[in-house]
Subunit: 229 residues, 4 copies
């Protein structure tokens, strides 16, 4: 009963089948509501998607800003950005996946607004890489490509992380901080203690309790691979 529940159902379905392939009727069925009743909680299917994406990107941007406000070492900023990004993606994998993949479903006006949020977030990372490179503490042969690679790597977490899997969110964050540092040639990784207070890892209201099985990119492949975890 309530708009949040509708959003959660929507996110679960959008993440599983995609926005275009998900019917309003399905969302209604998921929350036990007549399709018409949904429209008490939601203006339209589009609006539902926009709200979800904005919720996610607002939080990502907020976390990103907090990440670069601690100290002034670009290496620390980098690590904090990765930690925040991965934290959000792993805590809200379904929402993150939808936010990442359904931009194309928005029509022009709303797409631009959402894109602006995303671009503002990405600019934070670009800034850190640029400054770190100039300061000689980050080493990237090609800063742009490296930044994009890092970004995709972090976004990718939402494609395979499962809250009920072997790794806690905190563990994934640690591993990715290390990977990020490697990518950017940070020799002596900052110790966890020096990264400042860990980000509040926010669980979004629209993130469903049991994210749908992932078919898209998965840990699921060969049993062997699974064992190693």
């Amino acid at each position: 009963m309530g708009a949040d529940e509708v959003q959660r159902a929507a996110v679960r379905l959008f993440a599983r089948r995609g926005y275009a392939a998900t019917g309003i009727r399905e969302i209604g069925r998921e929350v036990g509501l007549n399709p018409a009743t949904l429209y008490h909680y939601v203006g339209s299917k589009q609006e539902l998607l926009v709200t979800i994406m904005r919720t996610c990107l607002d939080q990502l941007l907020l976390a990103g800003i907090e990440a670069v406000e601690f100290g002034d070492d670009p290496r620390v900023h980098l690590a904090r950005l990765v930690r925040a990004h991965v934290g959000l993606s792993a805590t809200n994998p379904a929402t993150a996946r939808v936010t990442d993949q359904e931009l194309r479903a928005l029509d022009t006006g709303e797409q631009e607004q959402v894109l602006e949020l995303r671009d503002r977030y990405e600019a934070l990372l670009a800034d850190v890489v640029r400054k770190g490179a100039r300061a000689g503490v980050l080493h990237a042969r090609d800063p742009v490509v490296t930044r994009l690679a890092l970004l995709e790597m972090c976004n990718g977490v939402a494609h395979w992380y499962r809250p009920d899997g072997r790794l806690t969110v905190r563990q994934v964050q640690q591993r990715f901080v290390e990977l990020g540092c490697r990518l950017l040639g940070v020799g002596d990784l900052p110790r966890a203690a020096d990264l400042g207070p860990p980000p509040r890892v926010v669980r979004l209201a629209c993130e469903p309790d049991h994210p749908p099985a992932v078919t898209t990119r998965a840990v699921r492949p060969t049993p062997k691979a699974q064992e190693v975890t």
Copy 2:
């Protein structure tokens, strides 16, 4: 005139709007064919998608096998795998994107067949990482996570690479070989010469000539970022 042209149109549209949001009328319009006529070239919309994805994954798997058949140094195998993967993705970004994102659109039977191809490919990488770690030439704190991160990073190329951009496919390959090595703690990168013959970089028949503008993940953000390239 021919099934290839239909596939190219389909890939372009699937990449831009997604499979579910693309109508066969649109595909028909793109190639100047009546929707009914399409069915002379294509069994069904699903079949069209399956063909595209298989074309792509077959090639990826083939290239992956060739990559690990040269020499027996896991570091070389790693580098060759990355080089091949990135080469294919950058040469066929639209096809790669579709292949990566539309698994969910397949119904169970076909999904499994396609997943098997993908998993066989990923197993190649898992193998290399495992052996390299055991041999002490690759250093990953968490091999599984690292492998997934690397995979997403490589897949990500299809999200932002533009054939008409600043970088050639070969350049992206080089950068990614380096990034991959960093990720896996390969201290002294193998020199290009030692990687053996470069993979034939195959341009798939279904890859459209002018891949659609990318709205999904983009280099497009801040002008500053663009310049650096």
Copy 3:
């Protein structure tokens, strides 16, 4: 607050968009009421329409009867009928329009009841024409057609008359009395004085204060035409 206000809103909207195209939500919005609350004042949308039409036809019939109860000259009866009809239509143009045009929206039972009212009114005019012709004081080559033409002409007033326009209701009545007499070949028009007491021109409770702009039949056409008024 009150059923009248609801009726006025309904008439305004029905006149502007038609009954079928008007939602009860719209009516509610117009009076600042929740759609559910409307049902405290009104049994149903149909009932609302029926009430409006009956209000209008009751009044028309009443006025018609009064018109033919003064004296016994068919010419006077004719003039008085026209005067009354036009008076009601011009004073309540929105209500008259709805009453005239939305018969088709009623379902059978109610339609018959309403039709009976209208037919009883029209019978008054038919009677006058018949008697006048027999008495040789009205001259119509074809009494039936003439009667229908006169009726449409009078009904038409509701299509173009605007209370805030150049003509008062009284002026329109005078002009139409003359036109009606011409139509029926009344050579020497009865002087106003002889027509007896003018009808109380009733403003119906359901007539909205500011009838909606008329798009249907209008004085609006060419500027030139307007000037002449």
Copy 4:
């Protein structure tokens, strides 16, 4: 089989129930077509209506122009305009009714285009009345009101005329020419011979063969009235 048949069904239903109350499904059922198939013949419901109205108004305007192109006596022009108008309305009563009543169903852009046609037609009559009054051959106390009354009277034909009734189209035309002349104080009516060639009375392609029973304004009232016809 064909767009005309669809239009005829649409006109029949629109005339009977109104545009807003008529579903696409009903139109389909009327012509024995699946609702989806209708869209092979028709772009949309709106477009269907617009086409119908334009067909009607184009013809009316054309006939109107021909009417005033014969000779230069305003009395003749008046008579010819009435004859043409009534001819079209009586020959195509359903189409005429729809055209007259469903303006409000059009959205702004199309409404304006259609209104322009109607206004151009009405301007023809306004012109004739103005010139006739100036020349002293037409006598109207109030030319504007008289013109509107005449217009409504003529439009009204579509509300009650039935092709299978007692009167032929030609007869109605004759009666209305006389009524029009009376309305405008034309003492000695021009003889039929002097009115020039009668207008081709066009049966529109969209006019249904058996116009729906009229509930709106009818000859149907009292049996007595009927007899007189």
